[in-house]
């Protein structure tokens, strides 16, 4: 729906979650009513001069603060009129800047409004009188984001210099009850702008242009300095962005606004461990598929046979048929997508490429029959009554009989594709599923969770396998549980049923179920590769064979019995493409 105010710059839901505020380009603040089935326009607040860049509700829901250019307005929600207008000083180190943009506001329950602006200031205002109480100049560049702790005793701001500042409400002297806001800790974990910050009870979370999400635990809230208290940097999305056509050796790369299809090269040479072989044929860039419109690509998939590509944006679903004639590729869009295929969260082709599984954002799971250049809608598994959760992960068994689907919390549902009915549900686990796959022949479903647990569930028998039970009883190695990134892809070797291949961003691992499990005293990470026979004996004594040779690892899959394909995404390449950060004067330069 359109708010009819030009681009929307800011949004804020009321403390009761029943209302939504929208700040628009034309300076209007619009209030919407949120009902379970729709969002309805309620009324406009007093129109302001310029765009509304930030909004914040008073915790009681009676007033709001809106940050605009050069000033902050406080509105009474009931009347919709501006109660106060607080002018922000444009001066910046004595020089009058053209405009002072209020990037963020936060309304505290005691009536204090905290604002952050483009002049590098964090300011405290009294909303009752509309006066400036205190001002902190913290940066030479914009302060772009602010987040307040629920208890309102601390908040965090992020600047364009990549610095995150922590402010705390501390007593003026050690025993007095009078408290004041003090800038306590600066953190510099980003190289570029910190665009957004969040404040959890125990940590500060910041995300910026440098593609990092940084979780910085507050050490005073952490009693035991263990691994949980460590700083974490997350660079890649915890999702699969690459799909692979095994038959044709194709890789489909998903970018924000385009897809790229590459054919892998080949070699005729052989070599020993560690050799790089000369290429007889280099990798080919086959296709560059740009999306129409401004929407980002949500998910994409290439069929195992390589002749179908499907992708989805937030509102549209696209299916393409590829024809290969020698070296030429013929791309044809399948038109007339049915209305229910509006938007998908996950797309998957069956192993024989005859069926397409689409998890729609409405919660339904569609099965589409593909043949020749056409398609036919076979069935839709509707979501369980009473749930609105959409499925975001799919896995299909190689024989095409079983389809597993997982949402974010409610467990994994396994459907019988032949009979088109729900077969069973794997019990819900506390942590979301990050990857799953169904093993050939045995039809064991392997599920990896975000807390690094791995389960194996036998679909025909509807219970966890003995191996999985053993693993749970024995427990994982502590280093395995302490890895930073979740497992994003699982695959199997067709000839070695005891092996599970899985990877996260920093390692790939082959779990050999026939070997004993490592305990906390054994060495989990084996230096790679083994040098002699006795070494092999000693080191392969446990089930986890881990290699960190490729990192950061975006994708790894088994192409055929003897070939693995791995995709690295070097951070330097990402940073090279970023806009330059604000230049900081270093000492002596």
């Amino acid at each position: 729906m359109d708010a009819f105010g030009g681009p929307i710059w800011s949004m804020a839901a009321s403390p009761s979650d029943s209302q939504l505020l929208v700040g628009c380009e034309d300076g209007s603040v619009k209030l919407f009513q949120i009902t379970p089935d729709k969002i309805q326009f309620e009324r406009n607040f007093d129109r302001q001069k310029s765009r509304i860049l930030s909004l914040s509700w008073h915790p009681s829901g009676t007033h709001i603060a809106a940050g605009s250019i050069d000033y902050i307005s406080v509105f009474d929600v009931k009347s919709g009129s501006a109660v106060h207008k607080m002018i922000v000083d444009r001066q910046y180190m004595g020089v009058s800047k053209r405009k002072c943009i209020v990037w963020g506001v936060a309304f505290l329950s005691d009536g204090t409004v905290i604002s952050v602006d483009s002049a590098g200031k964090v300011q405290f205002w009294d909303s009752a009188t509309g006066t400036l109480v205190k001002s902190h100049l913290i940066a030479n560049a914009d302060v772009q984001s602010i987040a307040v702790a629920n208890q309102e005793d601390s908040f965090v701001v992020g600047t364009a210099e990549g610095t995150v500042f922590h402010f705390q409400l501390v007593p003026v002297t050690s025993n007095s009850s009078e408290k004041q806001w003090v800038r306590t800790k600066p953190f510099q974990h980003h190289t570029h702008d910190v665009r957004t910050v969040a404040h959890s009870p125990t940590s500060l979370i910041s995300g910026g242009t440098d593609t990092h999400l940084v979780i910085r635990p507050l050490m005073e809230k952490v009693e035991v300095k263990n691994y949980d208290a460590a700083l974490r940097k997350i660079t890649f999305p915890h999702r699969r962005l690459i799909s692979c056509s095994r038959k044709r050796h194709l890789l489909l790369f998903q970018f924000a606004h385009h897809l790229e299809l590459w054919r892998l090269g080949s070699t005729v040479a052989t070599g020993k461990n560690g050799d790089t072989l000369p290429l007889s044929k280099n990798a080919d860039h086959l296709l560059y598929l740009k999306t129409k419109g401004p929407e980002n690509i949500i998910c994409s998939c290439i069929s195992p046979c390589g002749s179908w590509i499907a992708y989805s944006t937030a509102s549209r679903f696209f299916l393409y048929r590829l024809n290969y004639e020698h070296d030429n590729i013929n791309l044809k869009r399948v038109s007339k997508m049915p209305a229910f295929l509006r938007s998908a969260l996950q797309i998957l082709f069956s192993e024989d490429s005859t069926k397409l599984f689409v998890a729609s954002n409405q919660g339904a799971l569609h099965i589409v029959q593909l043949s020749g250049g056409s398609f036919k809608h076979l069935h839709a598994f509707q979501p369980q009554s009473g749930t609105v959760e959409a499925m975001c992960l799919l896995a299909v068994s190689p024989d095409g009989n079983w389809l597993a689907a997982s949402g974010t919390s409610a467990g994994v549902h396994v459907y019988n594709v032949k009979q088109l009915k729900l077969h069973c549900t794997v019990p819900a686990y506390n942590f979301p599923v990050t990857a799953m796959a169904i093993a050939p022949n045995t039809n064991n479903l392997v599920i990896a969770h975000s807390d690094q647990q791995v389960f194996e569930y036998s679909i025909p028998d509807k219970h966890y396998t003995d191996w999985s039970r053993t693993v749970q009883k024995h427990g994982f190695h502590h280093l395995w549980l302490q890895r930073d990134t979740p497992i994003t892809h699982i695959s199997f070797h067709p000839k070695r049923p005891m092996h599970i291949l899985l990877h996260d961003a920093y390692m790939f691992c082959i779990i050999d179920k026939s070997l004993p499990l490592p305990n906390d005293k054994t060495l989990l990470y084996n230096p790679f590769p083994p040098t002699n026979e006795s070494d092999v004996q000693r080191r392969t004594a446990h089930a986890f064979k881990i290699s960190k040779i490729y990192k950061p690892l975006l994708f790894m899959d088994l192409l055929d019995e003897r070939t693995l394909v791995a995709v690295e995404r070097p951070l330097d390449d990402i940073i090279a493409q970023l806009p330059p950060p604000i230049k900081k004067k270093k000492f002596g330069t």
Binding site: Q151, N273, I510
Partner: protein, 718 residues
Amino acid sequence: MASLEEEFTLSSAVLSAGSEGLLGVEQSSKTDQFLVTDNGRTVILYKVSDQKPLGSWSVKQGQIITCPAVCNFQTGEYIVVHDNKVLRIWNNEDVNLDKVFKATLSAEVYRILSVQGTEPLVLFKEGAVRGLEALLAEPQQKIETVISDEEVIKWTKFFIVFRHPVLIFITEKHGNYFAYVQMFNSRVLSKYTLLFGQDENSVIESFTASVDRKFISLMSLSTDGCIYETLIPIRPTDPEKNQSLVRSLLFKAVVSGNTRHGVAVTVLDQDHIAVLGSPLAASKECLSVWNIKFQTLQTSKELPQGTSGQLWYYGENLFMLHGRSLTVIPYKCEVSSLASALGKLKHSQDPGTHVVPHFVNWETPQECGLGAQNSEQSRRILRRRKIEVSLQPEVPPSKQLLSTIMKDSEKHIEVELRKFLAIKQTPDFHTVIGDTVTGLLERCKAEPSFYPRNCLMQLTQTHVLSYSLCPDLMEIALQKKDVQLLQLCLQHFPDIPELVTCACLKIFLSIADDSLQETDVNMESVFDCSNSVHDEKMEEQTEILQNGFNPVEDECNKCDQELNEEPQAKTKETTSCPVIPKRAALLNAILHSAYSETFLLPHLKDIPAQHITLFLKYLYFLYLKCSENATLTLPGIHPPTLNQIMDWICLLLDANFTVVVMMPEAKRLLINLYKLVKSQISVYSELNKIEVSFRELQKLNQEKNNRGLYSIEVLELF
């Protein structure tokens, strides 16, 4: 700097003030409570901090209060006069003023005056004064007339001077003003005529007075807008004679004289007065605070709704009628100091109460109340807290420890400290350790015999102290020549200034061997000379061979050979340590400490020459030991590194070169050092050559590892 704070309103509707304003605002026996008497029939007791009335009393319809209610500070009762002659006394429990104690007097009362520490006084309209007790004993007693006919009391004030009550009141008759000062210890009443000086036409609008040792300083605000000061002596020179007093101009035209309502002035403290009125005839009324000393306006506050021209000041609060409501403006005058101007926080430290910890522990801000609301603590903490609680006695161990430090014996302190360190992981551990050290050092300074060496050593080893936290610690250790403690400090403090490092060095070099033997110095950085002599000894190569041939021999080598006439002496010098192991350990501590050359150099010049040579000899010995083995390190745990040794040699020579050059006994040493430098240079030039070749090798290796955009590799998996 004097400042007026945000005003607040006590009441808006309760008072029937009228345009004449209030009758009075008076203090009550509790600091925060004030009696407000309106112009009609009501007395209200307000609690200012709560901004609400605590009680309200009214006289009957038809009666009218003629004198503001005051509090008898001795009994806590309230006194009011209605209908000029009827005195009422009541207390908080009373509800109805009709039912309380009543005394009808024989003369009309002008005012009842009450201050802390003495009985209230009753001032009659005829100028007579009586103590309340005496009056109540005989209410109908005859009251004499003091002032003449048509003379009217305009203003009065009651002081305590040297524990004696002094009453002053001003009367007016036909435009002439008279001041009467009544001393109660001597029952002397002196009368003064106030002379106007040149400006005869002005009428005095408001009076205020303050008192110092000898004079009552009476300030008056006239209709011409000026404030005049008159000094009235407390002890009259000649009480019988009628004396005249001349007033002096204090401020010129602070307010416009002809305002609709009155103007008022009141003394705030010895330097400040508050003036109520409009600065210009047309402008709005405002309250301004003036500094008498500097004749400057300190602050002012506009009162747009107008006032009644009345102003009262009690205990940091200014009371006035603003519009129709009683308004309180807190007044504060903080002592200006450089620290506050620089924004430094001042610790208000009450004597007698327990000392505020000087050390703020950022990691546990919750301890000071923040954490009280912090409900999100994990169960783990709660469990541990419980255990701690069960361990702890009623008094927290930290407090107990601090009190122990202040009075107990060294032995006792040591035991207590050990107990405290055993519990260790309290959240305010840093703070307590800091306070403990400061406490100990303060006592050390106060009592020269008190030197709790073991305690200080234990505290130093907690790793939480630093030099800046307790600079006195090293100072005292230096005084006592406690090398052991100094060594510990050098090892544990990250921020020792160069001056102190140098002072330590001086002591370490100068202290006698005998006294060193007695101390228990940590020896781990010193290796045992005796068994390391022949270990791993590299083949001694006297001549450097470059690419197979010998470069031109330096002349100095020859002169060196000439010098080394006794070869035995040379070997002895190189293999035996010039200092005893204990001193070596201390010097190693110096070598390990951090420093900045610029700051260290000037202090190094103060060290006597023979000590410099000794230190240089030791450093040279260390260097030789270093170069004996292939890795260029010294044996032992945590020995000085080669870089540290070289840096110190350079520093010492830089600082004292002229002195050392002149010393004959240092000559050989210098030549040895020169050779040393030369050999170093040749080593580095060789290393540079090797580096180039290595870089090429590395480049080759990198090319091999570079995978490029796409590559196929062979990988053996297990």
